[in-house]
Amino acid sequence: MATLDSKTPPGPLADKWRKHKADMKLVNPANKRKYEVIVVGAGLAGASAASSLADMGYKVKCFVFHDSPRRAHSIAAQGGINAAKNYQNDGDSVYRLFYDTIKGGDYRSREANVHRLAEVSVNIIDQCVAQGVPFAREYGGLLANRSFGGAQVSRTFYARGQTGQQLLLGAYSALMRNVGAGTVELHTQREMLDLVIVDGQAKGVVIRDLVTGAIERHAADAVVLATGGYGNVFNLSTYARGSNATAIWRAYKRGACFANPCYTQIHPTCIPVSGDYQSKLTLMSESLRNDGRIWVPKKAEDRRKDPSAIADADRDYFLERMYPAFGNLCPRDIASRAAKRVCDEGRGVGPSGLGVYLDFSDAISRLGANGVRERYGNLFDIYHEITAESAYEQPMRIFPAVHYTMGGLWVDYNLMSNVPGLFVLGEANFSDHGANRLGASALMQGLADGYFVIPYTIGDYLATQKPGSCPKADGPEFKAAEDNIRTMTKRLLDNPGREPVSHFHKRLGKLMWEFCGMARTKAGLETALQKIPELREEFWANVRVPGSGDSLNQSLEQAGRVADFIELGELMCRDALTREESCGGHFREEHQHPDGECKRNDEGFGHVAAWEFKGPGQAPARNVEALNYESVKMSVRNYK
């Protein structure tokens, strides 16, 4: 069994990080340049980590599968980034941001990690402003804020509806500065396909050059994975089409534990599915819930009516009704399930009946169309492009969609996995959001990990490694990993199958959405655990991957990723089946309060489940890290 020591520092919560920083080992400046660090991924977490480590003097190699490090899907985050600056004088504090995040995560995250996140949130804003990120400003020139779900203060910093883009371009500019200075060696269009472990420690990666097909080996003193989340297991999601789990999944198969894989976030406000050809779902930012009101008709027979013909008295503003204290700004998991419930009652709108209205008519009468356009213009434009409807004239139709994964590779307080030398940052790890992430917290975590955590904690590990002791990439472990990848590539290309990769991805997505989506049951998960292995067999028997392995081959890339998604989907269902409770984004129908809210089982499941690979065809082992709440009492979330 893997040992899961969270390495949470002792002492009072608010002092842990400060004290830990003082206690960690340091690497002296002359030695830093003797250590090589591999960073995989260049989203917010990867780019901020790569640039920060290079600024400190480490030799950094950064690998991205995109054609440029400016493309990662952090770029699509719309709404904002939280920070406990309390610029609004509305009662915010580090403690309150910590508390909101713990509560928002339904008491399934690690206290110490979350408190550190809240502490460094203020440094992130300073850093980004200094980089020139054009945050929204008030007329006095100071920074503006807005509010987001799960909070009663305004602590969200934003750059129109493109906050993720601006923060990523800030991190990208820092990364490219180091590339120009020769302190980061950048490799674009390179996909990590295996992790290399030497004497029990992560010491390298095997990479495929996506343009030439060449398989490369790279050795380093430490490996940092910042490769994002795995929501594309569901096929349809708000993720980019290329977002994938391959790097973390292959690391899992080399011994890194995968924590809480069943914790997925379903975002309440996305544009509904329109047809079978659909390749992605588009998010409408949570910030819209500041001014938009969500409703469905009270009577099912009104659902086909023109919304303007439904009188106010015949509308059910169900979030305002069910959660008067937070109203339309209740957390995502709660808003999504409420939307599902009213649609299950037959009151959903739109052609499929899987939609609810997000209505801006009150906001337009209050602020004028121009006032609304100034706040949300680009979102209304996106909505119009996709649906050919104007949200200024009629309510938007929205429905929940997969948006984020809280689970990920298990890491300790230092963001190191159970494999020494393997660090995991951003959405790829499991650490800070528990069973549900609050809005505007993903950007915060990605940058916290990259700018302010890994620069300290990686030194604590590297100081235990002799400078210059990094193994050569010609050792047997590297050769075995490369052979493994060559075999898999050949098997995919030579497979005498008939169906394109997308065929299997769509079927997996439907299984996952039906059985491991917004509501899960024992029977459904058991069905999925029977069907997914069948799908896996069928994939390997019948997938067709055209082309060759020695040039750009997008089908081959996708085939490897979908093969991993199928395996990961199975683990997610296994995790969801074992977790006999409801918490945050994980809702088991068997475990609910009479009003339909999540019923947690703190005694039985107040822990992290970290799954350990035991070999192909073997059941994985379920390891447990107890969550010890010292400062906050686990209580029932109440947004009423």
Binding site: S52, D55, H66, D67, S68, P69, R70, R71, H73, I75, A76, K85, N123, D126, Q127, V129, A130, Q131, G132, P134, R137, E138, Y139, G140, G141, L142, L143, R160, Q165, L169, S173, A174, M176, R177, V179, G180, T188, A240, R241, S274, G275, Y277, Q278, S279, K280, T282, I382, H384, E385, I386, A388, Y451, P455, P500, S502, P546, G547, L552, Q554, S555
Partner: protein, 269 residues
């Protein structure tokens, strides 16, 4: 944007640029795309065509794409001669089939420019943009050394204008649209964004000189004021920023000539 004129399925003929790699010549190949929903995106249509090609045992069309919501800058098709196709202020991934009519012949090519060599079919190598960025598209600040964020007020109009420039997604449509394959709009957007912010003043001259110099070295052409770049830009970034950059460049050139760097500037610490 063209309004929804029909909910009926449509069929089109695609003329697609096929090229195995940068060394081999390419050519147009015709494909039929039938019974398409008008609500389908242009890239989803290519997905469907590719699945059909795969089942038939043919090589699918390589095309660049990722976020499919117009923000990552990966997608890059020239559709009927226009970079990103018939829409205004949108990227290729935001084109929907309702824009086309039943029976249309639709020509699809990569973004064409000497500085963007074709990798395969519709995919080009735009790493030249990253090189320009690494020459000076940044404000040097290491993590941990930033001052308090509200210590430096930025007038709202400056921040708003900087944001207009900063919305650039780095797709390269401006280059593909320009008859000189100039990258002036791309470079001007970054130079203006950082130059408008008080934080960006320390490196202002050095930035514009280095970025423009690198742009010239990489084989991009010059601006001759046709403004096709702005028209093709998915974020509708204004060519006014090019004028701002030219002003910056001129002033920086004079200052660099008249005010030599301190002899100790490049010396050791």
């Amino acid at each position: 944007m063209v309004a929804a004129n029909s909910t009926q399925p449509l069929s089109i003929t695609l003329r697609v640029w096929r090229q195995a790699d940068a060394r081999q010549p390419g050519k147009f190949v015709e494909y039929q795309a039938r019974e398409l929903s008008p609500d389908m995106s242009f890239l989803e249509m290519l997905d469907v065509v590719n699945d059909q090609l795969t089942v038939k045992g043919e090589d699918p069309i390589a095309f660049a794409h990722d976020c499919r919501e117009g923000i990552c800058g990966t997608c890059s098709c020239t559709i009927n001669g226009k970079p990103h196709g018939p829409g205004r202020g949108v990227a290729t991934c935001q084109i929907y089939m309702r824009t086309f009519r039943d029976g249309d012949v639709v020509t699809v090519e990569p973004f064409r420019a000497a500085a963007f060599p074709v990798v395969k079919d519709l995919v080009t190598d735009r790493s030249a943009f990253d090189k320009i960025q690494s020459a000076g598209g940044f404000i040097t600040v290491r993590a941990g050394s930033a001052p308090e964020a509200n210590g430096l007020p930025v007038p709202k109009p400056d921040a708003d204008l900087a944001m207009d420039a900063a919305t650039c997604i780095g797709c390269g449509a401006c280059v593909a649209a320009c008859k000189n394959a100039s990258a002036m709009l791309f470079v001007a957007a970054k130079v203006s964004h950082l130059g408008l912010m008080p934080q960006g003043q320390a490196e202002r001259d050095r930035r514009v000189l280095a970025m423009v110099g690198t742009m010239d070295e990489l084989g991009f052409g010059n601006c001759t004021n046709y403004y096709e770049c702005s028209a093709a830009c998915p974020k509708l970034i204004s060519h006014d920023f090019i004028a701002r950059m030219n002003g910056d460049y001129l002033k920086a050139s004079f200052r660099a000539a008249l005010k030599p760097e301190s002899a100790g500037a490049s010396g050791g610490v």
